[in-house]
Every structure is written in C-alpha cells, then in structure tokens.
Amino acid sequence: MSTSAPILRRSDSRLLLALLSLTMIAAACGGGGDGEASDGSEAQQASEEFLEEEGDLTPVPGGEVVFGVEASTTGGFCVPEAQFAVSGIQIANAIYDPLVAFNSDLEPTPFLAESIEPDAEHDQWTIRLRPGITFHNGEALDAAALKLNLDVFRGEVGDTGRVPILFRYVFRDIVAVEIVDPLTVTVSTRVPWTTFDSYWASGRFGISAPAQIRSEAAACKNTPIGTGPFKIEQPLSLAEGDDVRLVRNTTYWRPGLPYLEAITFRPQPEASRMLDGVLAADGGFDLAHFNEARARNNARDEAEAGTVAYYQEGVDYSEVSYALFNMRPDSVFADKNARLFVAHAIDRDFLNQTVNFGLNVIADGPFPPGVIGHLDDPGVPAYDPEEAQRILDEELGGQLEFTIRYLTSTYVRSVVDEIIRQLSAYPGVNVTQDDFAQSELIDVALGGNFDVLFWRNHPGYDPDGQLVWFRSDSPVNFGAIDDPELDALLDQGRSATDPAERTDIYEQVNERFASEVYNAWVWNTLWGLTTRPEVHGVLGVELPNGDQPLGIFAGWSPVTEIWVEQ
C-alpha cells in the first residue's frame, strides 16, 4: 500500500496515483471535515477526479515558492554530524541527492547511484555512480568522493575534522570501502547486511562534496554543497527564524529539472499560522507541512472549499508516537507490572478522538503498515480499566508515581494532559508532567533522566533501520532495553536474506515488544502538506528508473518537480 502520490508520466499526460491511503482533497469532495476518521474511500474518488485535472497540466519552468517548515535547522547542514529534525531533512533533500530513493512500494531504487548491488552473501555491496554528475561547486561526483562520504559516516574521518557521533554506530558494520574504478566502490560489511542499500534513501544521508566535508566546522555547517536540484547562493545564516533560500542548480543531472528558480524554506513553529500563511495572498507560504491534527483538520476543510490543496501522508511507513519507558534498574518502570498498568489504563481511541479529531491511526507496534514485521494484532495489552485496577492493587501495592517528560510543544502537552487525566482516575496513581527544551534532550534521553518520555520516531522503511534504537548496546537505546532475545532477533534480521524469514523475524520483534511492553504505543503520526492551488508537482514525478516515487514520507516531500502556474 503506497503513501504517495501522483506520478506524472510524461508519456501519457495523466497523473496516476496509487492513492489508497494518500488523500488529495480538491473542491467539492467530502469527508473528514467534521473530524471523523475517514477510511480513505471518499478521498480516493476525489483524488482521482483531481488527478484527471492535474494530468492535463504541463509543468511551467520558473517562479519561486516559500515552503513553511516547523523549525529552523540551527545545527547546520554538515550531513555526517547533523542532527536533523524533519525540517532539516526537508531542506537537505533539496540540496543533496541520496544514493537511492524509495519508490511507492518502499523499494530502494538507484538514484545518484546507477546501481547498488550485493554479492551472494550480502556482505559486500558494489555501488556504481552515474557518470557526469557534479557537485554544486563543480567537483566531480566520483568514487573518491563517495568513499570519503562513506568513510566519514562510519567514523573513519582521517584529517577531515568531522565528528559523526551517531553514524559511527549506525554504520559500525562497515569494515571497508574500496575504490574499484573512477565511478565504483565496494563496501564490505562485518556481517551480511541485507538492507544496506535502504539506509541511503534520503537527503539525511545525502552525498556531500569533498570540499564541504574537508572544510572547517562552521563552513561545513553553513555551506552545504551537494548534487541536488537546489543550491545555496551564499553561506547560510543558521540563526533561529532565518529563511533558507536556495536557487536552482542549473547543472542538475536530471534534464529539465528543477522547474523552480528558487525555493525558500521559512520556519514557523505554529501549524495554524502555517495554514493561514498558505491562505494569505501575500507574504505567506506557497506550501507548508505539518502534523498537528487541528491544523490538518482545518486544512482538509479549506481544501474542501477549494482554497488550498491538501495532501496527507498515509499510515503506511509513518512515524509512531508513543510513551517510552525507562527500564533502568532504578526506574519505576523496570517493573513490567508498571508498564502493563499504563498500557491497560490508557484509552487510546478516546485520546485520539479528543486530541486529534480521530485523524491519527492507533499504533500497536514499532513497524507501521507497509513495513515487514507489522502485525494487526501483535498482542499489545488492550485498554482494560479493570485489569489496570487489578494490577495496580495486587502487583503495585496500590501506588504508582511517575513523571512524563517531553520536548516542549503545545500539541504534545495536550496529549500528555489527557493521558494524565486518564491515569489519575485511578486512586493511588500520581502522574506529573515536565517539558524540556531541545538543549536538554541529550541529558534527558541519553542520561536516562526520565520515567516516561513521550515522543515520536521510527518512520518505516526496513525494520533493520530501527536496530540502532532498540539494541541493548546502542547509545540511543534510550529506554535501556536489555533483552538478549531481542538483540538476537535484530541481528538475525539484519543478515537474513530470505524475505519470508525476515518477515517472521521482525514479526517476532513486534510480538516481543508487545509481550514485554517496552513501550506504550499510541498512534501513527501523519503529516499533511498544504499548498496553494496553483502549486503542483509536490509529491514527485518519476524516479530515474521509471518507478513511482514515494511522495510524503515521515514529514518530508520531494521538491525537484514542484512547479507553479505563472
């Protein structure tokens, strides 16, 4: 099931959408405006009507757009070191090209790479680059540049001065990168790595120019140099609230693209202001992405009225929001009964209706629909107030006290408020909340200074991509899961080559999470993209191999094929 979006086949002038879960609501369609969760069927019909109209349009080169994003990327764009949020990934995807790109079936397909192939054992991958591609500064994209990027990612930084804190763990299974010919490298891994190629399907792991990688710390952050459709005109200001303006890469390797002359990313933390900005005739946004439910609801209403176009990410491959338990020995949630109580005590459906107008989809595990390992019912403890009360009385001595912590956010506060309200209905349960700034995240999360951390993560591609969050020896295993059985499954999943075997392994991972209640899953968080009606091509066109692109994925969307009616 695809999350995405229109494919514009130039040969037949019709936009075709595989739309079962992605809705494009144009004028005079129905559904969803009153907050009722839609099953997608009405939107599917409306989308097809819209697509018939969209398919008759011919992209027009030129123009500029302002793209609203939810936050500034003050940490800069030194890709191997950067801690990108969704906004940063959105911008990175405009500057950098990835080696591969996901198609609408979430299969990694060659993008910058002409091919990326494993050997029979999947412990050596051969990456061949497309010839004739240059970075924005004129440097050639060749095997040497690629090797430099891969080595830095895995921690072999040499004299570059780069400090890839997280990625040296993520790519620790890479043992060597060798140049074979001017356009080809081989990557050898410590263990068979079945889905190694899927890691490279985002500007998050975009390929940077050697000049950027070797530059001083400040320059690496404020002077991004990629091969992407847009480039900077001058070093970026990374101050909070500043726009990031990118101009067309006139030597872009995909003929005729991009259509736009420039794109400006403007941060606006309030989703409602983003929507107002799209509605405003002047000085606002041409398109904006957000996941706050009320704003998405309003955007759908506006789309029904024909004032905007609205695209919503489908549940497939989406991020999951959840309560992360701290299971360190001195934590209250080291006791599985405490975790069981919380899982049984929260009415997620009511929570979703109250806070999200029912617009998000209840999640039961780390792997969303569309990703292997997903199960409709992995055995997550269901809402059961009587069982919750029994556990509280018989297993927890009638007392439970803890604090829910979260990154400062008006929306998340409303979620946590409702959770606390539900839990506080049980006598003897005392739950408080504490929000914290981004600057404290490392201390809170890495330091284990929390009882429960409410956050969202794990956008779905291959579940092997989640190993870094769950394995017991990972520095970002924030909940301190220490489960040899889970570790073994994750390691097996990385190296298994048989699809059926991998599916079985990750289903076991999913069931393990459910049976041990390591997290209290809440819902899949869906992103929406709102645009002015005259903005088109926002979900991508056609990948180099002819496949349909994925469209919106975990909050970011492609910008290469965006065009504006002049």
Binding site: N222, E240, G241, D243, R273, A280, G283, S439, E440
Partner: protein, 314 residues
C-alpha cells in the same frame, strides 16, 4: 542642565552598566549544569581544553567576568555551540529588525496617543472622552499576541490588505519593508497607545487647572495654542518616563510578535538561546538588552530638562 550634572550621570551610568553586565554574566553561571557538557557535549579532549581556555572556564569567577566584559566591550560576543556562528554576526542582522519594530511601535503609539490624550483631556467628561477611555481599556485588555493573530487573519488572510509575514530590509525595498512592518507594529503599538493616552490625559487635566493656564485663557489665547504651547510640555514628563520604562515591555512583546510574523529579530534569538542552552549567546543578548535599556533611560533622563526647562540640575 549643567555639564557637571551630565558628567555625574555618566559616571552613574557606567556603574549601572557594570552592575547590569555583572548580573547578566552571573545569572547564567548560576544555572545548573556544566558549561563544558552543554557547549562541548561530544568534543574530544583537546577540543574541550580549547573550549575551556577560550571561555576562561578555569579562571576564578571574577576573572572570567572581567575577561568576558573585555570581549563584550570589543564586540567579541562569542560563538554559538551548535553551529559555531559568531553571535556578533547574528546580532548584526537581528538587532536592526528589533530596533525598527520597537521604534515604529513607539512612534505610532505616540503619534496616536498624544493627540488623543490632549483631546480627551480638553474634553474631559464628554462623550468623546468616555468612548476613548473605554476603547483604551479595551486595548489594554487584549494581549498583543492575540491582537497580532487577529489582525493577521483579518488584514492578511481574509482581506489581503497587508502581507502575511516576513522581513525585508529598508535598504533593499523600502515600500515592501513598511508593508511587512505594519501589522507587527500595530500589534505592539495598540497596547502602548492606551497606556500613553491615559497617562497624558491624566497629567494634562491637572496641568489645565494650573494658574498660568487660566491666565493664558484670560489673555484670550486660542485653545490650540494653550494646549500645545503651554500645557503639553509640562504634562509630558510622566509620558516620557513611562516610554522609557516601556522599552522593557516592547522587548518582551517583540519576542512573541517576531515569532508570529517571522521577523528575524533579537527576541527570537534570545528565546532560542535560552531554551537551547546556548549560554554564551544568551549571556550576550541579556547583557545587551540590559545595557540598551539603561542607555535609553539615560537619554530620557537627559530629555527631562529639554522638555521642561524648569527642571534644573546642579
């Protein structure tokens, strides 16, 4: 106003500035947490040592302050931890935006409040006065961010009178600059209008009861000349004082307004620096805001003698 007075005030000013800077520096030093772990979280040992040396973290507290003050005086405000950007670079772009917003809001507020204050004082007790007073209370009751969103929705989204958000410098495009600054200015100014109008009205009513005003009326001077020529200046002292104090209100108001209208000003930078543990930047912004506040009020002190020549300083 004598030169001796000005010299004495300057000396006091320097002392106040030192106190303000000391408190700004100390405030963030008192926060829990270790500067090295916040500012150099993933640094190698050599980098940490360089960080400690650059910020004089091994020195005694007073020595740290003196060194920091020296750097502040020479324009070296330090660098952001996260992206190594010089605070000075950010400030040089952000400060004009905030100063413009504050200046425009003050000018608009005074331009509206002074005539209104004079008129309502002159017509005290009339229907006009009562309506104006009610409107002033209404304006005072509405928070500036609520007004900002309301104005933005009506005048940008619904009626497309003004642009929605963003900033253009005056030098690049003056027309666009002012178009973009109208709504933020109004959002900040409206509350100030109410305050200034009420203050001026109150002082003016008192002044109009003075003997010399009665004398002026008896001489047959026109009301306009009496109001503007004789009553206005002595009634302005409170207004001047409050305008100085209100700088703090404008600074805090600008923080929210900048966020709403996507203005890249100092307010946004300060909030970001505090919330994200950018201690060096936060220190610099807090110190500069304090210094600016003190300097502006110093200027206002000097203006007293200009506004009311009866005020003499020995």
């Amino acid at each position: 106003m004598s030169r001796r007075y000005i010299a004495r005030r300057l000396a006091q000013l320097v002392l106040v500035l030192l106190v303000v800077s000391f408190f700004s520096f100390s405030l963030l030093k008192l926060l829990p947490g270790d500067e090295v772990s916040v500012g150099c979280t993933f640094c190698a040992e050599a980098e940490q040592e360089r960080f400690i040396e650059e910020n004089a973290l091994d020195d005694p507290f007073v020595v740290q302050y003196v060194k920091w003050l020296g750097r502040l005086a020479t324009g070296d405000l330090g660098r952001y931890y996260d992206n190594d950007q010089a605070v000075t670079d950010v400030l040089s772009r952000a400060l004009p935006v905030t100063l413009q917003l504050m200046a425009y809001a003050t000018l608009v507020a005074l331009a509206v409040a002074i005539p209104l204050g004079v008129a309502t004082a002159y017509k005290a007790g009339s229907v006009f006065d009562r309506i104006s007073s009610a409107a002033a209370f209404g304006m005072l009751a509405v928070p500036n961010f609520v007004l900002a969103i309301y104005l933005s929705y009506l005048l940008s989204v619904k009626w497309s009178v003004f642009p929605f958000s963003g900033y253009e410098s005056f030098g690049t495009d003056p027309v666009r600059h002012f178009q973009l600054m109208v709504l933020p200015t109004l959002s900040l100014a409206v509350g100030q209008i109410a305050v200034y109008m009420r203050l001026l009205r109150s002082d003016m009513i008192q002044t109009l009861q003075e003997d010399y005003i009665t004398m002026a009326k008896a001489k047959g001077l026109p009301p306009r000349r009496i109001l503007l020529g004789h009553a206005m200046r002595p009634s302005s002292l409170t207004l001047l004082t409050v305008a100085g104090i209100n700088i703090g209100t404008l600074i805090s108001g600008s923080i929210v307004i900048e966020q709403i209208f996507s203005l890249p000003g100092v307010g946004s930078q300060l909030v970001f620096a505090i919330l994200n543990g950018e201690l060096i930047a936060a220190q610099a912004y807090i110190a500069l805001i304090g210094i600016t506040y003190v300097l502006l009020n110093f200027v206002i002190d000097l203006l007293y003698g200009v506004v009311d020549p009866r005020i003499r300083y020995g």
